[in-house]
């Protein structure tokens, strides 16, 4: 089985960005512990894609199931960015919603969501959009039950559209350099507002504005990982133990945190200006920093670490 081959891959060497969703899950969890729910053999495929003459996937682009992490039971979902950009269709979304509802009953140590998505699958737009809303409600229910929901973001599709809103609902987020979190994608902004507003071909601009380093520096994410499965595993274990509660106090703190961000940085044109004002000494060097140098920079930024999420 493909899953067994992936399990033999060294998590220290396996690139998160390059790995498939199933490889990420198998290598992230304790060896041999992953049990997939609605596996591809059940062929729960999209009922809608044939209308568009589009190929289907036996898992509709998402892997969900149970596993253990450092011996503790977890539930885990991983989007496959290579299938239709990891987008939310009816089946895809319902698998994630079902997993979160199962968490209320099974009370795992945590739920992990491995995002890799462009947002809503337009061929199933209404079902995808509604599933995103259901997912956010379910995450809140799970968090309120005291179960951390941790998002891991470092795939090739990034975390866009409704995926960005779901990420913002999680207890904690880990990102890598390749992880991008945003609502409107670069092409969407350019198509609607013009290249003067956002030149989607300017990849450096995309990384500065939406990339993992920017999100980590501003407190949009709680951990920054090297691009390996083992780095994400360590980050997940750390973050599970530091999950903020879901209550009025947390949301009041988040309100203050976000209001303060807009008051302080609302006139910044570029991420580089914002990083300078945050207290980064040489903001132009941030994109080229390696993981250790970047960690040292983050450690000096007060806004990066908080429980206001």
């Amino acid at each position: 089985m493909a899953g067994d081959r992936a399990a033999s891959t060294d998590p220290d060497a396996l690139s998160w960005y390059e790995a498939t969703a199933r490889q990420r899950v198998v290598a992230l969890a304790d060896p041999g512990s992953f049990r997939e729910v609605l596996p591809p053999t059940e062929r729960r495929m999209s009922p809608h894609l044939p209308l568009f003459d589009l190929p289907r996937a036996f898992d509709d682009g998402i892997v969900v199931g149970r596993a253990t992490l450092d011996g503790s039971p977890i539930l885990i979902a991983a989007q496959e960015g290579r299938f239709m950009g990891g987008a939310f269709g009816e089946v895809h979304g319902a698998k994630l919603v079902g997993l979160l509802r199962a968490a209320l009953e099974l009370k795992p140590k945590a739920v992990l969501i491995l995002f890799d998505t462009g947002g809503v699958r337009l061929q199933e737009a209404n079902a995808g959009e509604t599933a995103i809303a259901e997912t956010m409600r379910a995450i809140v229910d799970v968090r309120a039950a005291g179960i951390p929901v941790v998002g891991l973001i470092g795939g090739r599709a990034g975390c866009y559209g409704g995926g960005g809103l779901i990420a913002g609902t999680c207890s904690r987020l880990a990102v890598s350099e390749g992880g991008r979190i945003s609502v409107s994608g670069p092409e969407v902004i350019e198509t609607n507002k013009g290249a003067e507003e956002f030149d989607s071909r300017d990849r450096a601009l995309v990384w500065r504005t939406m990339g993992g380093k920017h999100r980590r520096l501003t407190g949009g994410a709680d951990a920054f990982c090297a691009d390996t499965v083992s780095a994400f595993r360590h980050a997940a274990l750390d973050l599970i133990d530091q999950a903020p509660s879901f209550d009025l106090e947390t949301l009041e703190a988040e309100q203050a945190r976000l209001e303060s961000r807009i008051a302080r940085f609302g006139d910044c044109r570029d991420a580089t200006d914002l990083w300078r004002r945050l207290g980064v000494n040489d903001p132009e060097t941030v994109p080229a920093m390696d993981t250790d140098a970047f960690a040292a920079t983050v450690a000096r930024i007060r806004e990066a670490d908080h429980d206001a999420r």
Partner: protein, 238 residues
């Protein structure tokens, strides 16, 4: 109906609701107590600033305690598409607004969405779709993306998409399709007073999220509910 007409029908004895920069806030007497109003009017795009203003109103209502219901009025554009909004973390701000509404509902403040105009994409998720029950007025126009944009992305001719839209509610914009998928629970009657209709919705709130059941019953989301239930069953089992 316009916002003013809706407010007149909800609050025949007057109210304190104001609109500033397209953002709606205030309250009025309702069923022996109050009904808190937040919302977005005039096809306004929802950016970081607006999302935090609305979230502030919602959290204020929660902090004040009681069980004041919150009505979320929606006639918006999509999320504001700009470099500044994304730089400042629009995903966090929209998610924060949704979380504030979900917290309110969990804290005993029933949340009801009322879409009376347009809404789309991230703005729709953060407002109307984050309420416990979403009502609509005839003429409302919720969408994920307009058909010409869908045509561009899917590389299908617009005429063919329009033809497919007639028989396939799962992708086409519009109120009827959002009703079919279960996202919109009910369409209200503009000829009857809205205070009674909203009051009935609050009195008959379902517990839990019923949208996938509605989508299955109405045929707009034929498999979502069964898939979610199968995941729960299998996760419990093996």
């Amino acid at each position: 109906m316009t916002l003013a007409e809706i407010l007149g029908s909800l609050f025949p004895d007057g109210h304190s609701v104001t609109v500033q920069d397209g953002l709606v806030a205030g309250s009025g007497p309702f069923a022996g107590g109050n009904l808190a109003i937040v919302g977005i009017d005039g096809d306004t795009p929802l950016g970081v600033d607006g999302a935090l203003t609305l979230a502030r109103s919602v959290l204020d209502t929660v902090r004040a305690g009681g069980r004041t219901p919150i009505l979320v009025m929606v006639d918006s554009d999509s999320q504001r598409m700009s470099r500044r909004d994304e730089l400042l973390g629009l995903n966090e701000c929209l998610a924060h607004l949704a979380k504030a509404l979900l917290l309110a509902d969990r804290s005993g403040h029933p949340t009801i969405g009322l879409i009376y105009g347009h809404s789309a994409a991230g703005a729709f998720i953060a407002t109307a779709l984050a309420t416990r029950i979403l009502a609509a007025l005839p003429g409302a126009d919720p969408s994920v993306m307009d058909l010409p944009s869908v045509a561009r992305v899917t590389k299908l001719p617009l005429d063919r998409l329009k033809e497919m839209a007639k028989s396939t509610p799962v992708f086409a914009p519009g109120l009827d399709n959002m009703v079919a998928t279960g996202a919109v629970h009910v369409v209200l009657d503009p000829q009857k007073p809205l205070n009674g209709q909203i009051g009935n919705l609050i009195a008959e709130l379902d517990s839990g999220d019923v949208r996938d059941r509605l989508g299955a019953e109405r045929g707009g989301r034929p498999v979502a509910r069964a898939i979610a239930e199968a995941v729960v069953d299998q996760a419990r089992g093996g």
